[in-house]
Structure formats: structure tokens, C-alpha cells
């Protein structure tokens, strides 16, 4: 995982509530057995005018001029400003992979769906919850001013606006440490192997039927 300490980036809008993971990466792309390469198909149905298929050359497809991410103004954006319940629906981690592959490092919204939030954090994509009023203010500022950027400091958990205002935000302490160090969860858990083994032995004594072998 790419560590996340500080990030300064251009902000793009995703101005609708309940953006679901189907919308972020449509199912036809889930046939891939890889973890990378989803970026060109992020928000595929909104982004292109035709229907995308896994093997098509995306650079040849007609773009939807109405879609914010297609406008020159937001080219190179790395922070997405979104509305409530962002990432609801399917548990597909491909949604987080697509966001990361596209170049997003953070998403700001008034609320996130649980599974997306946890997937994002495992892929170096920082979900930041701000109040509805703060998000509203950011949308207004973003629309008012071309080249609107934000600076995110994860160490201090502070967002700095172009006018110098600083807003604190909260992140789960464990996840924050993982992001800061770019550390792999599995490695951290495996350091606790002894504790897991001890628990497992007790668990097996208590619930022996759970440890029967599965034979088809």
C-alpha cells in the first residue's frame, strides 16, 4: 500500500448522493483477475457515451462532455468531493482499486458506506468525513473557483483550504497508523499468531463441530 502522510491536490466534484460501487465500477469489469488497470473505467457509465467492455481501448471511446471528471478544469484531480453515503452497495474492492488507479488519494463526503470505507483505507485512499455544512461550503468554493485545491495532513488530521482555513477531521487511529506507514494489515495480524492459536484451541474445545473437516 502507498503510504499516505500529506497530500495536496486538485479537487473534483461528484455531486450526487448514494454513489454506489456499481456506478464506480460496473460489473463487466469485475471479470478481471487483476488488481490494477481499473482507472480508465472508473465511473464508466457516467464518463463515456457508449457501453464499455473489458477489452475495449478506452482512449477511442466517446466521452460524455457533461461529466465533471471529463472537463479540463478537473484534469489531474486527486481529491473527490462527494455527497452522503458514498460507496454504498456491493462490497467490490474494485471500486477502491479503480479510484486509486485513476489517481484519487482522498474522498471527502458527509458519510460513507462501511465496506467501501474499509476497502478504501486498505488501498491508500483516504475517506474523510466532514459535516454536511462543511461539504456544502466546499462544493460552493469548488464551483466558484477554478483550480480549487486542498491540502490534507494525515499526521495532524487537518485539511487546509486555499484561504488558509484549517479544518480538523477524524480517522480511526489504527487505520491512520497503517496509512501513515503504508503497512500491510496481514503482517500486523500475523505478529499475533500466538494469540490466535491460543484462542483457536479454546474455541475448538468449546465448539468442536466447527473444526470438522469439510468433505464434499
Amino acid at each position: 500500500m502507498k503510504p499516505f502522510t500529506q497530500h495536496d491536490g486538485l479537487v473534483a466534484p461528484m455531486d450526487r448522493a448514494n454513489v454506489d460501487t456499481d456506478l464506480m465500477i460496473p460489473k463487466q469489469f469485475l471479470k478481471s483477475i487483476k488488481r490494477s488497470g481499473f482507472g480508465p473505467n472508473l465511473f464508466d457509465e457516467l464518463r463515456y457515451l457508449d457501453e464499455g467492455e473489458p477489452d475495449t481501448d478506452n482512449s477511442q471511446r466517446p466521452l460524455n462532455p457533461e461529466f465533471a471528471l471529463n472537463s479540463a478544469r478537473y484534469t489531474g484531480a486527486s481529491i473527490l468531493l462527494a455527497r452522503e453515503n458514498f460507496g454504498c452497495g456491493s462490497s467490490r474492492e474494485h471500486a477502491a482499486w479503480a479510484m486509486e488507479d485513476y489517481g484519487f488519494r482522498a474522498v471527502i463526503a458527509p458519510s460513507f458506506a462501511d465496506i467501501f470505507c474499509s476497502n478504501a483505507l486498505k488501498n491508500g485512499l483516504l475517506p474523510i468525513v466532514l459535516s454536511a455544512a462543511q461539504v456544502e461550503a466546499l462544493f460552493a468554493a469548488l464551483y466558484a473557483e477554478e483550480g480549487f485545491r486542498l491540502s490534507i495532513d494525515l499526521q495532524a488530521c487537518i485539511i487546509t483550504l486555499p484561504n488558509g482555513e484549517q479544518w480538523p477531521f477524524e480517522v480511526d487511529a489504527f487505520r491512520r497508523d497503517c496509512l501513515l506507514s503504508g503497512l500491510d494489515d496481514i503482517g500486523i495480524t500475523l505478529e499475533r499468531s500466538e494469540a490466535i492459536r491460543t484462542f483457536e484451541r479454546r474455541h475448538q474445545q468449546r465448539f468442536p463441530w466447527l473444526f470438522e473437516d469439510i468433505v464434499l
Partner: protein
């Protein structure tokens, strides 16, 4: 101290509580399928890691399989779509390499992972169950702690048998009274989501209680818990009772003899204690729930079949107005129109929400002796597993569907997410027993209306949405 069901399940699986609020939770059962596992196995290979406990895992292909008999008969290597074939082959290969037990494609036990699991007794009361699929919440119906995980977590569970979790809060949804004629668990689910919204359950474990829930069969409870995720809750729960035990007794992987007796002792404790405190409660009057139909692009955009699509002027604020007008536009509906004026082109009966034998029976009961209306271009019935299919055929349900003019398919996820060839064309409108009506979910530009199997069957016959309660009352009246 009085505990909730969720508290009990959590405590029994807590390996370690950390100071930062996260905890290590032990996982009893891990279900896998072809779509969310390849990258996890790849991760294990790259890091040179193995599987922690072989017998905890069970894999099955379902999301991306063809449901056409002609395409399935020649086996995996003959499937026409090369991209899907590679994904399915990768699951087989990974299961070989990592020694994970897999129910293969043309095995009679193959089916949608959430139908197969309980059917085999591979999920049981009191377990912690995860799967790289958000509808893992289904298994909370057994009084188990079950939820969906992402692919990184799939890898984490394979490697460590644990998950890093934060304890959720407790939310009690009490459904009092008894459901009326033709009203099903699906309608409870849609009514609850209509009430609390698609984010209403975020951060909560949702326990369904009350007399209407106690009266549900296990299959009904599965339908209900399946949809908990559509209310934003990672898991749904129903307490263990005789209905639960009767369902699991004799299932292939369920304990037998003395082990069953020991298990039953523990399972009998799996309910919220009197006086247990929930962080949030709601009560819904089961008697007043009517058959529901979603009209929009989120499961919370739902109404009684007797109701209407909302009006823009009735929206509380500008954001809601924009949301409504976008949904109406996508769905091709007028504000204020009657739900019963909506005419589907396609009917889909299937998915992990509603493809079990009772679902097929309730649809067949409505369809028996009828033909689908001329405006229905396509009607698919996709049983949840090979065993459901065999059972339905033994009962002659397949004949009823075929004679009504519907297609009888092989088991799989099919048009629930349309990863295979079963999908809507742009603009097509579907009465679907699945769980998500998101834009494009059943095919790019497709329009989905979520309903129960009986409601889908009634819509197939009438060519528009009608109250299945009325249909059943009329049929009952004619009989008398």
C-alpha cells in the same frame, strides 16, 4: 449484564481487543467465489503466505457462470465468454493450489454462494461467517454473525483466520403483528429500508425481532437479512429458535449426534437477553405492511403497490428534489403516477434474495394455469442452486414456469448483477426479485423494480404491477 445477540456472538469470537478500539475477531467460516477472490490468492502467493485453516473455507462459482443449459453441459472449458472462463478457471486453480474445498460448476450442490451455504449446513448458528460479497448478511438469519468483506479482507482471513473489526452498535427492528395474505419477508425488508433509508443501518448490526419475524420460515429470514445491507447494515440478525434448529438438523455439514446436542445447548442461548440495551430501536406494524415495489434507483425509493411515485413538490429539500428527478428520468416514470400503471418488459425471479424453493413455490402458485402477458418480452426463473432446481422439478414447478412462457435456467447469480449474458437492454424495465435497483445494475440503461417472487409472478401475468394480495383474494373467492 444483559447482552444482545450481537454482543454474544462478538464476545464468543473476540481474540483480542486493542486499545485503539479495533479488535481481532476469529472467523469460523469463509465462503469464496470467483469474482472477489483471485486478487486475494494472488496476494498470498506474492507474499509467500498459505491458508491458515483449510477446513474453514468453502468455494463455489456463481456470479459469472452461464445459466444456459446448452452452455453449461460441456463444462467450464467450453464456456463461450473467454474472460469469464478465465475467471472461473482461476478459482478452480487457486482452490487446487491452496487446498481449498470447492463445489465445482456442474455439481448439483453448486449455486449462489448464499443459497449453497445454508443448504449444506456450511453456515450454522453461532458462527462468524464472511465472504467477499455484501449479501453475506443473509446468514444472520441463522443467528450467526455474518457480513461481507472486501478482497483485501478475503486475503486477510485466508492468511490469519481473523478480521480486524470495530464493534458495531446494536439496532433492534421489531416487526409486530402478522403479515397479511401475499405479504412476504421481501416486503418487510423493503418497508424497513423505506423507513430508515439505505444508510439508516450504517454502523449497526440490525437484529430483527417481533412476532412477524418469529413467524417467518428460515428462508424468509434469509431474504430479510440478505437485504440488511441495502439498509446500510453490514449484518442482519434473527435469534435462534425451533425454526432455526429444524432447518439445520440433518444438513450435510451440520453436527450429528452428541455434537448436535452440544451445539444445540449453545445455539439455544443465541437471542438477545431480556433487558438488553439497543442503541437504536424501531417498531414496524407487520399487519399494515403491503406488497412493495421500488420505483427508483435506490432500494429506499419504494412504495406500496397501491401507492404512487412521489411528487417533486413533496420533497423536503433541493437535494431530495434533484435526487427524485434524476431517478424519475432514469426510470422513465412520471411524478405522481400510480405504481399499478408501471408495466415491466422483463421478469426476473432469482438471486440470493429470492431463489430458494419457497420463493419458487410462491411464484409458481400465482403463475399456475396462466401465461405471461404479451408485453413481457422475457421472463427468467433462475433457481438458487442445483438442489433447489432438482426440488422444483420434483414438484413440477418447472412445468408451471415453462407453460407460462418463462425460461427455466441453471443456477447462478444471473440477471441480479448481469455479469453474464443475462441482462437488460437499455431502457428495459424489469420486475426483479433481486436486491439492487441501482442504475445499470441489471444491464446498462436497464430499469429495475424490486419485488417479492409472488409480486413478480403477478406482474408477469398482468403485464403491470398489481397487488398479489388482491390476486390471491380473488383466486380464493373464485374457489369458494
Amino acid at each position: 449484564m444483559a447482552k444482545t445477540l450481537y454482543d454474544k456472538l462478538w464476545d464468543a469470537h473476540l481474540v483480542e481487543q486493542r486499545e485503539d478500539g479495533t479488535a481481532l475477531i476469529y472467523i469460523d467460516r469463509h465462503l469464496l467465489h470467483e469474482v472477489t477472490s483471485p486478487q486475494a490468492f494472488e496476494g498470498l502467493s506474492l507474499a509467500n503466505r498459505g491458508v491458515w485453516r483449510r477446513s474453514a473455507n468453502l468455494a463455489v462459482p456463481d456470479h459469472n457462470v452461464s445459466t444456459l443449459k446448452s452452455e453449461r453441459d460441456a463444462g467450464l472449458s467450453a464456456l463461450p465468454d473467454p474472460v469469464s472462463r478465465l475467471q472461473l478457471q482461476t478459482l478452480d486453480d487457486n482452490c487446487d493450489v491452496f487446498d481449498v474445498v470447492e463445489i465445482p460448476l456442474n455439481d448439483e450442490r453448486q449455486g449462489i454462494v448464499h443459497v449453497m451455504g445454508p443448504e449444506q449446513g456450511a453456515v450454522l448458528p453461532g458462527m462468524t461467517i464472511v465472504c467477499g460479497d455484501s449479501h453475506t448478511s443473509t446468514h444472520g438469519a441463522a443467528g450467526a454473525l455474518a457480513h461481507g468483506i472486501g478482497t483485501s479482507e478475503v486475503e486477510h482471513v485466508l492468511a490469519t483466520q481473523c478480521l480486524i473489526q470495530r464493534k458495531m452498535q446494536n439496532f433492534q427492528v421489531e416487526v409486530s403483528g402478522q403479515l397479511g395474505l401475499g405479504v412476504t419477508a421481501k416486503d418487510i425488508a423493503l418497508a424497513v429500508i423505506g423507513e430508515i433509508g439505505t444508510a439508516g443501518g450504517t454502523g449497526y448490526a440490525l437484529e430483527f425481532t417481533g412476532s412477524a419475524i418469529e413467524s417467518l420460515t428460515m428462508e424468509g429470514r434469509m431474504t430479510l437479512c440478505n437485504m440488511a445491507i441495502e439498509a446500510g447494515a453490514r449484518c442482519g440478525l434473527v435469534a435462534v429458535d425451533d425454526v432455526t434448529l429444524d432447518y439445520f438438523r440433518g444438513k450435510p455439514f451440520a453436527p450429528k449426534g452428541a455434537q448436535w446436542d452440544a451445539a444445540e445447548l449453545w445455539w439455544r442461548t443465541l437471542h438477545s437477553d431480556d433487558g438488553a440495551v439497543f442503541d437504536r430501536n424501531i417498531v414496524i406494524d407487520g399487519d399494515s405492511i403491503e406488497p412493495h415495489v421500488t420505483w427508483g434507483t435506490s432500494p429506499e425509493m419504494v412504495a406500496s403497490v397501491q401507492g404512487h411515485v412521489p411528487r417533486l413538490a413533496d420533497m423536503p429539500d433541493e437535494t431530495a428534489r434533484i435526487g427524485l428527478s434524476r431517478a424519475l428520468d432514469y426510470m422513465g416514470l412520471e411524478e405522481g403516477m400510480a405504481i399499478s400503471d408501471i408495466q415491466p418488459d422483463v421478469v426476473f425471479i432469482g438471486s440470493c434474495t429470492n431463489s430458494r424453493i419457497e420463493d419458487l413455490r410462491s411464484a409458481a402458485a400465482i403463475l399456475d394455469g396462466h401465461r405471461i402477458a404479451p408485453n413481457i418480452r422475457k421472463a427468467l426463473v433462475v433457481p438458487g442452486s442445483g438442489l433447489v432446481k432438482a426440488q422444483a422439478e420434483a414438484e413440477g414447478l418447472d412445468r408451471i414456469f415453462l407453460e407460462a412462457g418463462m425460461e427455466w435456467r441453471e443456477p447462478g447469480c444471473s440477471m441480479c448483477l448481469a455479469m453474464n449474458a443475462d441482462r437488460l437492454m437499455p431502457g428495459e424495465r424489469c420486475a426483479s426479485t433481486s436486491n439492487r435497483n441501482f442504475e445499470g445494475r441489471q444491464g446498462s440503461g436497464g430499469r429495475t423494480h424490486l419485488v417479492s417472487p409472488a409480486m413478480a409472478a403477478a406482474a408477469a401475468v398482468a403485464g403491470r404491477f398489481v397487488s398479489v394480495s388482491d390476486v390471491m383474494k380473488e383466486a380464493g373467492g373464485a374457489d369458494r
